[in-house]
Subunit: 320 residues, 2 copies
């Protein structure tokens, strides 16, 4: 849940004067998103989402994100769209922060995804990869293999306070992945954070994708590996191969994986697990003891990593 910055009615009225979206009738802070402050706006023109970008999102990256979602929408993908101001700007300034208004997207994220949901997200991910193919901007993935060692330097020394032996496990895995990471895979725009809370459904149909603030240019198959980690494990941390098969088959119906992408899937899955293990570990160690807001459990990804380490081929994920 997140509202880091309160916005006064006066500041908001002044901000909205630059937009052609009617008169403000109500606004409420929304308990969603961990990187930004979000508000629901009701105006005489309808409902909108106002986002204030807090310091975890780099201001220089915002044009990439905003142009990307407009590009994707123009190619038929559904995602919240920035509302441009009277002078055509997608990005404004509110309470000394970059701020943007978005269209309101219906749909709900699924707390307990079933096989059909996993299939639907595989299809949506492949469509995202195809729609992004001709996007003109690039953004480096700071959270891919080249970025992991600095995260480990930050948190590795204290890893064993979370779980005995965790530091050593991460250290070995990191050295191995730095050596074996595949570097010649098909590249393009990836979402890089397509967890269940970023995919909206109406029934079993995907109604849209949200939260592109980790999107970047990287190996498309790495995005698939992130989704396998995020969607296809059960609450007891066991891998559900039926869900994995559904996700992969749906993906491949829209975009075929190359033999090389398939061959390196276990490595990509290990990397994806390590990436979330590391960032969660940093967040976990940064939060003061006794805080009311609990960060996400890093050990969930330790257990997923252990599963991937035992896998030999893409068959273990459900690719026939």
């Amino acid at each position: 849940m997140a509202v880091y910055t309160d916005v006064s009615d006066e500041d908001l009225h002044q901000f909205l004067a630059a937009y052609d979206i009617g008169t403000l009738l109500a606004y409420k802070g929304i308990a969603e998103g961990v990187e930004n402050s979000n508000f629901l706006l009701h105006t005489t023109a309808g409902f909108f989402i106002l986002t204030l970008y807090e310091k975890r999102v780099a201001a220089e990256d915002l044009p990439f994100f905003l142009n990307l979602i407009e590009h994707l929408a123009a190619r038929g993908l559904t995602c919240p769209q920035p509302v441009r101001s009277r002078v055509g700007e997608a990005l404004g300034q509110l309470v000394s922060r970059p701020a943007a208004i978005f269209t309101f997207l219906d749909g709900m994220w699924i707390r307990r995804p079933n096989v059909a949901h996993c299939g639907a997200v595989g299809d949506a991910l492949a469509k995202l990869h195809l729609a992004g193919a001709d996007f003109g901007m690039r953004r480096r993935n700071r959270l891919s293999v080249a970025g992991w060692r600095s995260l480990f330097d930050t948190a590795g020394g204290r890893a064993d306070t979370v779980y005995k032996g965790l530091g050593q496990t991460i250290s070995c895995e990191l050295s191995l992945l730095e050596h074996e990471w595949p570097r010649d895979l098909p590249q393009g725009v990836i979402h890089a954070d397509l967890f269940p809370d970023n995919v909206f459904f109406l029934g079993e149909r995907v109604s849209g994708l949200i939260d592109f603030y980790f999107a970047c240019t990287d190996a498309l198959a790495y995005d698939v590996a992130i989704c396998l980690n995020a969607w296809c494990f059960e609450p007891d941390h066991s891998y559900n191969i039926t869900k994995g098969r559904a996700l992969l088959r749906s993906y491949m119906r829209t975009r075929k994986l190359t033999p090389h992408e398939i061959a390196v899937m276990p490595t990509l899955c290990r990397g994806a697990a390590l990436r979330f293990l590391l960032t969660r570990l940093v967040d976990w160690l940064e939060v003061p003891p006794g805080a009311l807001v609990k960060p996400k459990d890093p050990l969930e990804y330790y257990r997923k990593l252990r599963f991937h380490q035992a896998n030999m081929s893409a068959r273990d994920y459900g690719i026939d």
Copy 2:
């Protein structure tokens, strides 16, 4: 900000089946309210607020609150109305908690109220008191003078860790108020928590009142004293008599204060300040050090109490 309980899409669908408000299209946790979990619902019938009552609200009090807001609305006051289920129930059960759906109320709360806003709230408060006059249910005010000593017993011993001498100040004030508290004032339904975040405005017009979860049967003039504390001080803790005069005059145009109510206004204001000083002190001392959610500053009400202690008559508040 508050979402204490997450609600799954499956649980919510099942809950909504008992209501005639169309198909669910979206729901989002709202960062408002400190006692309950609140969600915005979008259905094919429009926008609604879903409230889950957490343990700070006593389940046996809910019929009082829900019947009261229906009673007030029937007499022309605007406040969010409970949506009754197909079988006529205002109260349901969701994630093992009492839960209710309310109509969506437009308007915004004012972060920096001006004189006109203070006048408008005085008028709204008087209308609330008149509309509540024939309400048939009663609820004791657990946070009036009879309830303060037990709060002091909880927190008084640690008061000086917040501010040196605070324990002694509260102890003397409490003894004095227990002795001098006026007990023969006109009684009725009071809101008891009509702070700026519970009054919605569209422009300088009140669009509605919210959050009746402290409402009870008590002295009407005590509600006026709570509002003087909540609306008529500046950020530097000085009393703004122009705002006080505007609030009191507007109130008295709709409901005349009796000479006795006017005479005891300084005592009522001291009591109101002590009540919020005590509850904030308890909350302050209960929060673990380093927590991300900061409770409200109890010393704001210590300073207001100091102001009231120096006052001799209602003239000091702006009553001519």
